[in-house]
């Protein structure tokens, strides 16, 4: 099993703190946000899409006329 990328929530006392929001709701898809907070300012931030289906791989070798039916399912919103 591959190693799972999973940064830890560091509960350091102020002034340095790592904030993790996962899942981020009210959006389509599964998004994870992390922010490194230094002295009350966001010093660095990362976002990660937490879901993968591999549609590019699935599309290979198929009838090109079907491509729209597949790619339309990337997002139903």
């Amino acid at each position: 099993m591959p190693k799972i990328f999973m940064p830890l929530v560091i509960n350091n006392p102020q002034p340095s703190q790592r904030i993790v929001i996962d899942p981020l709701t009210r959006i389509e898809g599964h998004l994870r946000l992390e922010a490194q907070v230094e002295n009350g300012q966001v010093a660095e931030a990362w976002s990660a899409a937490m879901m993968f289906r591999g549609l590019e791989i699935i599309l290979k070798g198929r009838d090109p006329r079907d491509a729209w039916v597949f790619t339309q399912r990337i997002c139903g919103v």
């Binding site: 993968f52 591999g54 198929r62 597949f70 997002c75």
Partner: protein
């Protein structure tokens, strides 16, 4: 006489007439005898409404969209059902979102309905769908096993759907495949599922205390009992061999049969010719495109290429 339920509906601007119309639509969808709408209305007024936990995994949110496109149905049923967890709709994020789900599982153990949208990846330890640091599979196990019932909406939650299409890079499975033995499990395939069928399934349960009768693939017979081809309003053109042979030809303009253009109606069981989409506006064949077979098992592989005619019916 005004019941508390009627008052609640009125507060949301839903009249008694709207409610009875809704019950009539539900009765028709469920194939109940004429005139049973009123009895259905009485049972619904008295029914205890369970909370819903709506899980999204490898999905495109189209089933949620299908659900939200019918504001009348939602007003009538789901506002009074409590939607405790739905990633796209709920206010809390992060740890607080997960708390909402866990609170419902704990406080309503065995009493909530779990709706699952999207497939569950099983390859590589489940890393292809992670929520709050947990795999889709572990969340599904925890949430579905404590539910009153699980409803798998859309093809992905049924048989793995598009993510499970060859070569299935993420080992995607439907709920039934990922959690063998889960019961009761009601499958509502379709890409997306039709909200009328989801609503009718829940209405049937609220009125009868049991889930509608299902076929060997776990699909309610009221919605997946008939083949689209047999019920198609263009079927008489098929019988008379009046076929569309090219997009925009005279046959297409005349509304003839789409079989030669690759229509998969002969392989698909679904009631979309009856309930249609977008509030009963239209459906694919009605709009002049063949059925792609989106409610059929593994249709992405079994029924593609979509524009190649079936070799038999």
């Amino acid at each position: 006489m005004r019941t508390p339920f009627a008052e609640k509906l009125e507060q949301r601007g839903v009249s008694r007439r709207d409610f009875l119309k809704f019950c009539g639509l539900m009765a028709a969808t469920l194939g109940l005898p004429a005139g049973s709408g009123r009895a259905l209305a009485q049972s619904l007024e008295a029914a205890v409404r369970p909370p819903i936990v709506w899980l999204e995994f490898q999905d495109c949110t189209a089933d949620s969209e299908s659900f939200l496109r019918e504001p009348t149905l939602i007003n009538l049923l789901f506002d009074s059902l409590s939607l405790d967890y739905h990633e796209t709709l709920m206010a809390p994020s992060g740890a607080q979102a997960e708390k909402s789900r866990l609170d419902t599982i704990r406080d309503y153990a065995g009493q909530y309905i779990c709706v699952v949208e999207g497939s569950i990846p099983t390859a590589d330890g489940g890393v292809y769908a992670m929520i709050g640091g947990r795999t889709a599979l572990s969340i599904a196990q925890e949430t579905c096993s404590n539910a009153l019932a699980t409803i798998a909406v859309g093809n992905c939650a049924w048989d793995g759907g598009i993510a499970a299409a060859a070569p299935n890079p993420t080992g995607a499975k439907g709920v039934g495949g990922a959690l063998p033995g889960l019961s009761p499990l009601i499958n509502l395939p379709g890409c997306p599922m039709n909200v009328v069928n989801l609503t009718a399934t829940i209405v049937y349960f609220l009125a009868n205390g049991q889930w509608p009768e299902r076929d060997s693939l776990g699909r309610p017979r009221f919605a997946y009992g008939e083949e689209i081809h047999e019920e198609c309003p263009r079927h008489h053109h098929y019988e008379a061999e009046r076929f569309v042979l090219a997009w925009g030809d005279q046959g297409h303009r005349n509304g003839w049969c789409l079989f030669r253009m690759g229509c998969k109606g002969p392989r698909t069981r679904h009631n979309c010719w009856q309930v249609k989409w977008n509030g009963g506006t239209n459906w694919p064949i009605g709009a002049g495109h063949g059925c792609i077979g989106c409610a059929a098992p593994n249709f992405w592989d079994n029924l593609s290429p979509f524009y190649t005619a079936l070799t038999d019916d």
